[in-house]
């Protein structure tokens, strides 16, 4: 369960497009665990982590909304200074490029979501575990 399925959803640049999606998710009892929006001048990508990504994909597909499921992982934040830097440095010294990162909050702790090159994903998780870094196993908690 170390890997997390993130939905990358295409957003048209028009009012209401974001709420169309969040309304669909909430109407179907899907809980948003984390959300991150990136945009260019005329479209955007919404990166969302929900408690049931397969169900969300079906619902959004049916509603005619384009999306991709992307695998990411989450590292639990230890409440001390420099914890993010430790992870980033470790990946950097091993030549693993972080494509993007953002945060997720669970009831107990916060965590950082990381996206790396898909072919390096397993290796990265392994590396972090070996170095005693805690990978968030279940986002539903």
């Amino acid at each position: 369960m170390s890997k997390i399925q993130q939905l990358s959803i295409f957003l048209e640049n028009r009012p209401g497009q974001l709420t169309d999606i969040t309304t669909l998710l909430s109407q179907n009892q899907l809980s948003i665990k984390s959300i991150n929006l990136i945009d260019s001048s005329d479209y955007g990508i919404l990166r969302v982590i929900v408690d049931d990504s397969q169900k969300a994909k079906e619902i959004l597909d049916d509603a005619g909304i384009s999306l991709k499921i992307v695998e990411v992982f989450a590292v639990e934040i230890d409440n001390h200074l420099g914890s993010f830097n430790e992870v980033a440095s470790l990946l950097s010294t091993h030549g693993i490029n972080i494509q993007y990162t953002y945060t997720i909050n669970t009831t107990q702790n916060g965590a950082f979501i990381f996206k790396v090159e898909p072919t390096l994903l397993d290796k990265t998780i392994e590396l972090l575990k070996q170095n005693g870094i805690k990978i968030l196993e279940d986002i539903r908690s």
């Binding site: 295409f10 945009d39 005329d42 479209y43 990508i45 990166r47 005619g64 909304i65 384009s66």
Partner: protein
């Protein structure tokens, strides 16, 4: 296989028949139609002036405006007792265009549609799924009667209700699909949801598509999505409905059933005749029509013709798939562009589906061209950079090939309006202002 031997007759024989039929059509309209009598008199010509096919150039043109001006039956040359069928266009751009058929006109229509089915390889053993709309639109009944004529089993599904149509096509084992290309593509999109092996549930071998302008890219997409031979049919209700021309298995060019429909290509601006091979406006004179014989009807469609022999053995001249409409030609900042050329560029971009819409507007005094393209699974990525690169690729291709500046806008899948009949491909907002 050829349905009627006239399709592979010697050209001299064919042209001799055409001249005879042209002369009798001209006699007919001169004596029966005040509209044509007046037009001929104005030009100082009588039926006697037509002694060769070349002489057709002396005759006046007929336009859609003439049909509208004589709404509904003003140009009919038979009493209502001889009219067997009336069809009408949707009339979205004014009064509808009304056309009539005598029993003999219906026979001609059935005959040419039977030829179309034969061109596509259909026989009495086939099951024809007809998804053209039944009703005032000539598509539904035109295909219906042609399939009946060759003795095939017809499923008169008509348009709409995609899921149900797919179920019927699967369960009945349809072998020939007749529909608009965009509806065929729409059905394929829905069918694909059943899984990547969806084609194993269908027995289609060929499709006969028409009623919409179609680029090579769209044809290929429909043909691949269904794993079938693509046959295009051309026609218009003013002339007969579908059945004026269709392509055989040997080429993309459409054989014109010229023993019934005499075709010419003219310069749409000057009305002058253009030689074979040059693109211009297609002008048709039906040679056997009784109820509504028209002289040199200006179709508004842009194409070219060739009399080069075809491998299939038919000697009938062939026309290109329609390149565009005379009135569809867009002038973007002084550059002439046909939407089909834009479609060609889109079709050549990997991963992009042909679900697009062209929107032309004014930005201050400047023309502004936007092309909306639906995001398919193939082009959806997790990266703004990659999607931006695709946009740029299309914009560059349009600039390099067509010399136009366009702004590509990515939109959600299935968000561009699909009509069951004709696709809404171009919105020219400049005309509304």
């Amino acid at each position: 296989m050829v349905y009627n031997e006239i399709e592979s007759a010697k050209r001299e024989e064919l042209e001799e028949l055409e001249l005879k039929r042209l002369q009798s059509t001209v006699e007919r309209v001169y004596s029966l139609s005040t509209f044509y009598k007046e037009k001929f008199d104005e030009l100082g010509i009588t039926p006697k002036d037509i002694t060769s096919l070349e002489d057709i150039k002396k005759l006046p043109f007929t336009t859609k405006k003439d049909l509208r001006a004589h709404y509904p039956f003003g140009l009919f040359t038979v009493p209502m007792s001889e009219v067997a069928r009336i069809h009408s266009s949707s009339g979205t751009t004014g009064k509808p265009t009304v056309v009539g058929y005598t029993k003999s006109d219906m026979d001609v229509w059935d005959e040419v549609m039977a030829r179309v089915f034969t061109l596509a390889g259909a026989t009495s053993k086939d099951i024809v799924h007809n998804a053209y709309g039944y009703g005032l639109f000539t598509g539904g009944l035109g295909f219906h009667n042609g399939a009946e004529k060759i003795g095939a089993a017809i499923v008169p599904a008509s348009a709409g209700m995609t899921d149900r149509q797919l179920m019927l096509m699967r369960d009945f084992g349809a072998s020939i699909l007749a529909s608009t290309p965009t509806f065929a593509l729409h059905m394929a999109e829905v069918a694909q949801k059943a899984g990547s092996d969806y084609l194993s549930h269908y027995k289609l071998k060929a499709g006969i598509f028409g009623a919409e302008p179609t680029s090579k890219g769209l044809k290929k997409e429909v043909s691949n999505a269904w794993g079938i031979d693509y046959h295009e049919v051309y026609g218009l209700s003013e002339i007969i409905g579908p059945g004026v021309a269709a392509n055989c298995k040997e080429s993309d060019l459409l054989h014109v059933f010229e023993d019934h429909f005499f075709v010419e290509i003219i310069n749409p601006q000057t009305g002058e005749s253009l030689p074979d091979g040059q693109r211009g406006e297609l002008v048709i004179t039906p040679l056997t029509k009784q109820a509504l014989p028209l002289i040199r009807y200006r179709t508004g469609d842009i194409t070219s013709i060739t009399k080069e022999p075809c491998k299939c053995g038919r000697t009938l001249l062939r026309m290109e798939s329609i390149v565009g409409r005379v009135d569809d030609m867009l002038i973007i900042s002084g550059v002439n562009v046909y939407p089909s050329q834009i479609e060609h560029v889109i079709a050549n971009t990997e991963g992009v589906t042909l679900n697009y819409q062209i929107i032309v507007d004014k930005h201050g005094h400047l023309d502004k061209l936007e092309i909306h393209i639906e995001v398919s699974d193939e082009i959806m990525t997790d990266s703004l950079g990659q999607m931006g690169a695709l946009k740029k690729e299309i914009q560059h291709a349009l600039l390099n090939n067509l010399y136009i500046n366009a702004h590509v806008v990515l939109v959600q899948p299935r968000s561009i309006e699909r009509s069951m009949g004709k696709a809404v491909r171009i919105i020219d907002k400049r005309k509304e202002q």
